[in-house]
Symmetry: C2
Subunit: 285 residues, 2 copies
Amino acid sequence: MPEFQQIAILGVGLIGGSIGLAARKYNVAAKVVGIGRSQEKLSRAQRLGCITEGTTDWQAGIRGADLVVVCSPVESIVPMVEQMVPFCQPGTIITDAGSTKQEIVDTLHTSESIRGRKDVYFVGSHPMAGSDKSGAEHSVANLFQDRVTIVTPVAETDRTAQATVRKFWESLGSTVMEMSPAQHDASVAVTSHMPHVIAALLAASTPEAMLSLTSTGWGDTTRIAAGDIELWRQILTTNRGHVLQSLANFEKLLTAFRASLEAGQDEHWIKLLKQGKHHRDIVGS
Amino acid sequence: MPEFQQIAILGVGLIGGSIGLAARKYNVAAKVVGIGRSQEKLSRAQRLGCITEGTTDWQAGIRGADLVVVCSPVESIVPMVEQMVPFCQPGTIITDAGSTKQEIVDTLHTSESIRGRKDVYFVGSHPMAGSDKSGAEHSVANLFQDRVTIVTPVAETDRTAQATVRKFWESLGSTVMEMSPAQHDASVAVTSHMPHVIAALLAASTPEAMLSLTSTGWGDTTRIAAGDIELWRQILTTNRGHVLQSLANFEKLLTAFRASLEAGQDEHWIKLLKQGKHHRDIVGS
């Protein structure tokens, strides 16, 4: 028997679509309702097997859902959840897939709408999976397989809801780690947001006339720079402090590398290359 | 009928092995002789179909070759070619696959051994293809397909030999561009050597404890950091000036990005993200 009678996915793009595909594949939910603004996109997601039905009426979409997964861009998660909470049935658990957590979790736990409903629960999540592509048509059921999802409980988080959300991501194939929203944001600044900025700057610093001379190395290193600008604007804006810190650390390393290459202190920069290879080899292909 | 009776490949690793596979697949040469130091590796390359025979005796290996392709690490290309030239049969063309060109081409064209033989020709090449993996076991026949190979003629280059080398790379599926060794080195500093350094520093700047929180983005962006340290030491050492220049340009962009993110001048850094995406989209997947 499925773990959930009905889950609602708000925003059926790459992440939402992949959640739906995985939830259906692993029989996590009997019904998977997609909520979106475009009936055409919802119909396409339904044809792709991401959802069992779709609606542009969010109030209808969350009715009867045990679990609502908000997969909209980070800046719209808080207003969406605040608007939704008064209409949720008792016992509804809400989680999200936002790439930053502190602002979202802090705001929602001090929000009047959430505080007014003791029988509706919010638990912040971030599945660490994605692509430079977007849209339900790029969804894959195994997107979360062997990937980490971070769940970010705080003091106010309901422990049963937290366990349910954890189990949900695990049933999609993900390994769940729990940490505070602040620790999450500091970590992903280093492992995800800084790499995005660096990849974009690498692509930006390559003159257009030289692009035909790029190879697989440039291609891999800059791949994520193709990601949606508005999504990334929101991510970097809501995690500004930590991103600045990680960029400053990177800049120090770059300056040290350049200075030692210039000075002919070859052992210094070779040591940095070795450290990079060591970390890369730990992660593996 | 094949274009060459016999080609000799000095160094049957990923690049040399892939040249052999492609040369055999497209019937570019009747015989493909691999030259290396380890009989075991040569036998493996032969079993993999990269070469038709292998020898650890380089003098025997180049005997009867119309074309010799030197695929050893950049710092050993000059001594190899100098040693080899006196033993080449009249008409032999020598090219290489080194990632830097100015030092190699300049040294060889002023070299006594090359200047003493008017009937042996050197033409510098750089196939812009590769992998973070090494060894003949990772060779693929289509490594050069739809990839650019840069051929770097100088005033002293024999035009017939240049045309033959150009045609050789084209028969392996590559698109050939010709430019001076200096222009080559300045270009690949930007499109290949700088990305390698940045990828390595990105991996190096990620604390080991956070590596489990990396995802596909970090994985793509740092992939080439796994490359062989000694090969990259030689590349960066022989292209130091251009690499320093491109790193300095990158550093300026990074500083500008960080300053505008810190100051809340969002339009500035968003413009850089957009420029990065624009360049990435031009290159495509």
